[in-house]
Symmetry: D3
Subunit: 267 residues, 6 copies
């Protein structure tokens, strides 16, 4: 039985948005989908509403009538500042403020490992670790995490902030053996964040049950997230395909990987 | 082979005491049982000694000759102050002091989640978290935990303080999906607390291996408690029977549940 | 100008109560004084109401009409359990519950160093350190601290819990060089606890500005307590009068001093 | 002798900027001043360059040739989102990015108590406490703090982030008795942040040596900031002028004061 | 496929060294083995180089041409100071310094539970717990851990410091039910430490997946160490063979076991 | 009146030893002095016993009959390994073991800032911070700190470990403005460590009351160490004489200063 009357997914045309479009369908009578990119035709129980995240008036229309928001829209990697500003920062604000005006009480947000990318692998982090962003992209994720905290304390809107590590169909490099999250586990995690009875402002790492990992979800067991997949089954293939890295390379030493060796996007 | 010559269970006629009466039988040559309520006839290897916990002289008789005490007697829920005072506070003192006088070296005590009931779900707690009681009942549990600490530091009496979450045959509401403890796991936990070689003053949460949970036992792995049951197998039934709660309701937001919305017992 | 219409001091005939009777006079239009011991005649702006702390009905009368309570009544040192129970535990409950029924919104309580007496000197403690009581007396102080926390979370009654170290006219032994609190500093501390704008549930150590000390008030600077006296000016006299202690003696090694070597009061 | 060849102050026409314009003059051969508001004529050793913080090209011109930046420009209180976005977020980015392109190695930024405004008074915070913003204004301060951390880890630009509490000529309300910072202490703090040999990414609270305070600078003693003023000398006047607050009012209970009771700026 | 051209094992004739001689063979084209004791003839893909650890010149020869070092040589239990000094302290230095001179970039070292032996069982420890050695042997392990930290910070040589608990073919006493590490898990752990992409300076506890345990590896999940064995399968035999210990005995109360009751080796 | 019958100072001919020879004279009936270097003739109440720290039999003679030991002997800066080993490591062991055999109950040891030299200035450290040595010299200081901990836990010998920062007649460079300790404060600190009633195993930073500092003694207030001097009075002279450092230079960024940029002593 559907838990929500109308559930909004932003960024629904993206790689992860598409996964959620399918995976979250059982949760809602109607799934409302939005993106700037083409979303194809609405399926049964779907509504499609194209929108730019930076357009507040349009986002107000998109959020109207929704019970909860799964906010996965925004630049998915490091991009020039203007793009980060428009899609991630303005977009993040627009979604939270529209949610407040329409009385939405819970938001699940696609934050990122890059909010704490400058954590060293052996140092590790848990869900209380302060921000250590590795890019403008990472800074924009920190911004929405903090914005969410303010909307929680001041306006009582609950949020789950998912520091997604590496969510792909399969791990593709050695770092992914620690950071990979399967699509199935993503769907489970978002589902748990939407249906757990009380979440307040919860930060959680988006990772599968990998043998190696850099981050601990020990403090967020209230979500009931129990990943079912593991990068371990892909180890042989990945190790055969990729040479070991150099631990003196920041892209290896830090959890954020190559984001830690990128320069400024304008360089 | 029995580990104890004579093991005392207080509150042995209660819901959990009855479970332990059966479950702990293999541990002792003789199980001594006490309660204010009817205990029925003593079975083989059992001794029945009715008593009021608030009666020190009687408790002295009851504790005499025992190797260890499983102290589960006292008001099991919020009650008027006089009752809490008599059964939990005076009763707790009487048991510890009688144990000291008779040379008993270890006590397992039924503390409660309500000693930390005002912990928010998403905030969580581990076994070092300071007290945050939610009722007079919870305050009385804190009292015995602290009393036990004094008897440990001053008199060398070891204690395990079990912050039992929700120990019922089956979970009955959505909160129990996180807080449930099976009877089988209770028996295991008490057994481990009685037989672990060295426990000093150990606080442990009484929960099964639930998918969701609010408390961490990570710091008390020395007990070797590995729960075998999980509330998860009851999820479908419970979710069908109980509507989701409102996260703005303190009974949902705080770990202590409805105890956090109760007024004073005299109101 | 008086801050309170009517301020209640319990234990007003005691050593510290007498100090406060004089020192807090400027804070209130009327100072109501209660004790089981003789309080002499009421002075100007004073009301005298003899009472047993263990008598709830009488405490209800005593608290009626007061704006705030300075609760210094109860056994001032280790005593037999019945006395601790009656004056400290029942008395503590009676004061808090009477305060709740009469709408009193703030209580200042004379807790004690003996709530954490089993802290080693070199280990130290701050205001977040969990309880480590050294006597039944210390356990009763822990009880009221926890009771106060429950009345804060559930009923919104603010409390300051003063872990008074050694409050005497002058330091009398070497340990006091670290634990002494002058009467003047006591008056300041209680005054600050009564007048600070927001205190919630605040634990604070009652010590003067001694050169040596075991406890840190770094986390409770919101009270604005800045001690003016120091045990240091008494050092020469004290050291001449008292031989150095043996660090292997628990009375020297632990902050609680001789309370840590006392047996049970019935022994 | 001047430490800097050319030191830039943004927001130099503002209340604090004007204080720094005078106070930092001895540190630099040339003080470059920028603001959107009128800066009056350049004095000796001054350069005046009007600019909008949101205009990247202009900020590039303004930063060119400077050794260090004191970034005090931006909306000084809660404002509508568009204004926060333009002056604080875009302005913050523009200053950091221009600094990077021009090889500036240190920035002192006027962050705010409102980055952690939802800290309760009795809970307190130190310089490691995670963000808890109380307004859009506070969120924008968190943004620049995080941006600065990324520019430190990735590009080696040092920053001091000053969580200024209440910097006015004199304290004007009771909360200021804890949060006040004198103009003289502000000048000292900024001077120390500019001249301390190594600061990396340092968060520091901007407060005078007040008797009451909510925040601890214990962890940032490497700056050598030792405030010389105290709100205490203003206590009598302030307490006479302002009635005590209600601790149940969020504006009293939380460090952020009235910012914690403001709604959204568009409401 | 071999990961290392030439891998050195010191102490290769010892109980654990022999296990690694077999277990690590797949990792290296050539396994170089050294010990003061007889190593028997070199097998295929093996090189045997007898050496005293205290002889720097010889250790230089032994380390030459190796890619990584598994340093398990040194006194394996408490021994007179001269022996600890020679084999563990001088030997430890010699290995690290030879590694530096020959450009070796990673060392796996057999540290010990006895570096933290004075941790109480119920207190527990994780990988950040400061040293608490229980013997000269334990102090020498602390020395190499600190030496390794210096070689990491100053010279960029990575180290894994394995605080091996009780690595035997099978558990032989009740304490081992918590501290046992199987040979198979040892091989896995060393393998992971050698092949994990980035380890910096990582302390890890060498224990199997025992039901009871005193130490947490929660913070070193980046190693990907997932033990496959458990002491639990040996419980019945061990408990039948060994009487329960006395919790008042330091050999039971502390993690270090009988090392905590040993006197000085010269006594 | 003298506190000790016979107090031993090792390294008494060194720079700091000479200061203590004079400064500690009032504490003891007889001051026994030892060093490998010339100590000149014994003054009144002095005994001179030349010795090599590495010679155990001689150290046994030197320690015989002493009440307490102030162990300041050993290489005072980075030196080749053989010298560190002989004077610091063997010397440290010899002093502790001789103290044990002769029943000495307290030792004050000259540890060093270089035990934690790789702490960044803005990161700071307190007395619980784990070791982070910057040289072989620093590693040897860590060794004695750990050795002292073992002698405390196992044999009940108390130790104060003084992480002396920069103890010179006057500060000579800019880093000293944070790290300087005056000779007068050194004498006070050692005196307090010798006479405080109970110290167990206490680590304390040896610094004066400097405006800038990298380390906190907040947790060791039980010693009663209150420095009287400050580097601040030397600031003008020092800043005039020394150019500011580059924060990107490890000798500036890390607390250990130039020790952090030294290579190996053999290079």
């Amino acid at each position: 039985m559907a838990r929500f009357e109308r559930l909004l997914i932003t960024g629904a045309a993206g790689a992860l948005g598409s996964v959620l479009r399918e995976g979250l369908a059982p949760l809602a009578t109607t799934l409302r989908l939005t993106d700037r990119a083409d979303l194809a035709a609405a399926g049964p129980h779907e509504e499609v509403m194209p929108a730019e995240l930076g357009d507040f008036d349009r986002i107000m229309e998109v959020v109207a009538g929704c019970d909860a928001v799964v906010h996965f829209g925004a630049a998915p990697v490091e991009r020039p500042w203007e793009e980060i500003l428009e899609s991630s920062i303005k977009g993040g604000y627009n979604v939270y403020e529209a949610a407040r005006r329409h009385g939405v009480k819970r938001i699940v947000y696609a934050s990122s490992i890059h909010a704490v990318g400058y954590v060293r692998r052996e140092e590790g982090a848990d869900t209380d670790t302060p921000h250590r962003p590795d890019t403008l992209y990472g800074v924009s994720k920190c911004f929405v995490e903090d914005l969410a905290k303010m909307y929680w304390h001041k306006f009582g809107i609950e949020s789950a902030l998912l520091r997604i590590n590496s969510c792909f169909p399969e791990p593709v490099d050695r770092r992914h053996l620690a950071t990979w999250m399967s699509h199935r586990d993503l769907v489970q995690l978002v589902t748990r964040c939407l249906t757990a009875e009380s979440i307040g402002h919860t930060v959680v790492y988006g990772i599968s049950d990998n043998r190696e990992r850099f981050f601990s979800n020990e403090k967020v067991r209230h979500l009931g997230y129990v990943p079912q997949d593991s990068a371990e089954v892909h180890r042989a293939r990945v190790e055969a395909a990729c040479a070991p890295g150099d631990p003196a390379d920041p892209a290896v030493a830090f959890a954020g990987g190559v984001f830690c060796t990128m320069g400024h996007p304008d360089d």
